[in-house]
Amino acid sequence: MSEVFPPSIDARRGGDPPLAQSKPLVTQDVEALWDPSERLWQIAIAPSRWRLTSQSCQTLDGLRLGSLWGEDTGRSVLRVHAVWLPSGPGSGLHLVTELPTATPRLSTLLPDVPAALYFEREASEMFGIEFASSPDPRPLLLHISHDFPPLRKRTAPSRPSGERRTYEFPPVEGEGVYEVPVGPVHAGIIEPGHFRFQVVGEEILSLEVRLGYTHKGTEKLFEGRTPVSSVPLAESVSGDTPIAGACAYSIAVESALGLKVDAATQAARGLLLEIERVAFLLGDIAGIALDVGYAAGAARANALRQIAYDALEAATGARTGRGVLTIGGLLRPLDRALGPLLTPRMGTIGKGTTSLLEHLLTHPSVFDRIHGTGTVPLNVALALQLVGPVARASGLVRDVRSDMPYGPYVGRVVHVPHEKSADVEARLRVKAAEVIEGCRLVLEFLADGATEASAAPPLLSEGPTERHGLGLVESPRGEYLTWVSIGPDGRLARVHVREPSFLNWPAIEYAVKGNIVPDFPLCNKSLNLSYSGFDR
């Protein structure tokens, strides 16, 4: 087993960590390099120390698993990356280990790190890595077996062999227990997912979600393309948050190539990110109102949402914000006369959201439905390491914008709303508060010269070596992570996208416990998880 440091770490741009960033305890006996732009310590370890080091990250340093993914170097070596992130303001840790492609075996992080489950299942099916003594080796995204693990490097693409894999749902037994299979095709036009309920009467005993129906091999599609031409792909990982997707991807590429982005461009990015957040979360609020059958409330939220989309269209010419961002900045500048147009609209949305929230919370039949429904207790949120508004509604105050400020948010104060009751009501309150805060931030970015950003210069991505970079963005759903590896030819060698839903999906299985079946759609809507972002 080679104990060499992956080239990514050798070639890192150096720099001293700020004094406050004391070295994590786990790094005391290994070499660690500080990456100032990503605010991460880079550490390479031997596979034999994988489990122990990971446990220490969690217990000694209080870090949480942000993502875990595989990479095929194409040189008979597989790498496994894990990013450990701080639970509050601070710095994180990027662990890398190398495995021989012929016999890739690694010890599982389960059950000590419950959040690792989906990551390991994915790495296992996509790279053929065996996680020894894993309690759940079932496939995650691939429903049909492939002739070889699809994300490994080969000249010929991996093809489905046409054989449908068996997938066992753990049975629940007892008198009066029955199983309700729902989906993947639903009565409404929504994304596909299969839900297996174990039910007594109307009460839900357990739920298991099976996804992967929209798996498009997006991470594979990135490979071999140039960084700039792949921005539209990054936007469409979860098509309802294209700006966050493009931003996370751009930040990752910029970090890999060592690009600096000027302040006006950062402000423009911030402005777009916040308008997207406002529009998206208003959609969530509308969805909650609609799912309790209160169409009049939903109509009010949707009307506000349209104002936000109108603002986005006025700013960029693109209603959903696609095709606006690129690496290093914007494809074309924002409309310079945006100020007088945006200010009253953001005011309208802010005021409208305040009064709508008040209306929904004081409407007895709405309040009765959302209060105490779909609770995700704090201990569950902590164990699963949830992110975004869902985590904040459960009492976890975490937000990339304030914990690990990036681009537009460096040196900016962001109010992070949070609640304790962890139910649908708490999520509604958090989302409404974030809409209002988003409106404020939009105007702040406007004042900081967002409209003065010019179009991005052409990008030169060729270089002497392989370069890696990581981008973290707080998307409307929470922490959005993208990692890129760019080869010497300037083309993407591997891109890993972890949409926040990947961490948050298991929350639904806990949120519905003890609830009744007809309340499931409401719990689901209040979490608003992306199927496409999960499946990629």
Partner: protein, 319 residues
């Protein structure tokens, strides 16, 4: 009885069936329009329901492989039961020439038969949603039926009859005194029953796309073509039946007391009353979110208590 009056009676029955079957889709169109307006949308044209039914008429039916003959004939029986209930309510003429056919107890029974057949059909194919919808629907039915029957006893108590014509004639004879506390209590109870029986908010959301929250819609997910036409139409007819009954008892004025030309005026009055009631019911519906399923028990209890209170007032206090 002369030949002309017999022809008149046949004419009335044809008119009444045509009226109820014909106007039902319009009423559901009106309610949808009101709901759309409350959401700031323009909404479908109010005649859209007719087009929907016409579309279903021209479509073929698809049956689940596991379905038996029940799936085919249950919608017919269900619809037939509703048609049979039409003459039990005096729509145009008082006393209704078909009052002899049965009283409101039969009316409740026919509605229950219709509900039972729909539930049976939903169970037939063995799909999850059909089963879920039918258990919920029968459960709501069992909870609300006592309130329904008690309301009818409460309405009938002053006149000592459960026949709709007798009750309506008694109401007319009272004049404004018809709006007595027992009547208003019983009517309130009936409004609860009406909303539950016709699957409207806050009991059931007819507009939902969320299969797990559905009640009535879950039962008919497996249906298509003309069977679905009968079910959809039947749902609209049921609404007209219950609204018509409510109007007959609460506002019986405008019905013709003979078989003469006044029947034409009665048609206009009945149509106006039904449209007005639909607007009010549609507006009421927009005020509610859907109840959490088990809260239906509370509503059923309230309806039952209101109806009981109405009966007690009539007999004990003699208001």
């Amino acid at each position: 009885m002369s030949l002309s009056s017999e022809l008149g009676i046949v004419g009335i029955i044809v008119l009444e069936f045509a009226l109820v079957l014909g106007i039902s889709p319009l009423l559901s169109g009106v309610i949808r329009k009101i709901k759309s307006r409350s959401q700031g949308r323009v909404g479908f044209p109010i005649f859209q329901s007719y087009r929907d039914l016409g579309k279903l008429f021209h479509k073929g039916s698809v049956y689940a492989e596991s379905a038996s003959a029940v799936t085919e004939w249950a919608p017919l029986i269900s619809f037939g039961a509703l048609i049979a209930a039409i003459p039990l309510v005096p729509w145009l003429v008082l006393p209704s020439p078909f009052g002899f056919a049965g009283d409101l107890i039969l009316f409740v029974g026919l509605l229950a038969l219709s509900r039972f057949m729909t539930a049976l059909a939903a169970l037939d194919a063995g799909s999850t949603f059909g089963g879920m919808g039918s258990t919920r629907d029968m459960w709501i039915g069992a909870l609300l039926e006592p309130a329904f029957l008690l309301t009818i006893f409460a309405w009938g108590a002053p006149s000592g009859s459960t026949g709709a014509s007798t009750i309506a004639l008694h109401s007319i004879s009272l004049g404004l005194a018809n709006f007595s506390p027992p009547m208003l209590l019983a009517t309130t109870a009936f409004v609860f029953v009406l909303f539950a029986e016709t699957g409207r908010l806050p009991f059931d959301n007819p507009a939902t796309h969320l299969e797990l929250t559905m009640i009535h819609e879950a039962m008919v997910l497996d249906y298509s073509g003309r069977e679905l036409l009968l079910i959809e139409w039947g749902k609209a007819v049921k609404f007209t039946l219950l609204t018509g009954l409510l109007l007959t008892v609460l506002l019986p004025w405008g019905l013709s007391l003979s078989l003469g030309i006044l029947v034409l005026l009665a048609i206009a009055v009945v149509v106006a009353k039904l449209l007005g009631a639909s607007v009010i019911i549609g507006a009421l519906e927009t005020r509610f979110a859907k109840l959490r399923l088990f809260r239906v028990v509370d509503f059923a209890a309230v309806a039952t208590v209101l109806a009981l209170g109405s009966i007690s007032l009539t007999y004990l206090v003699g208001v």
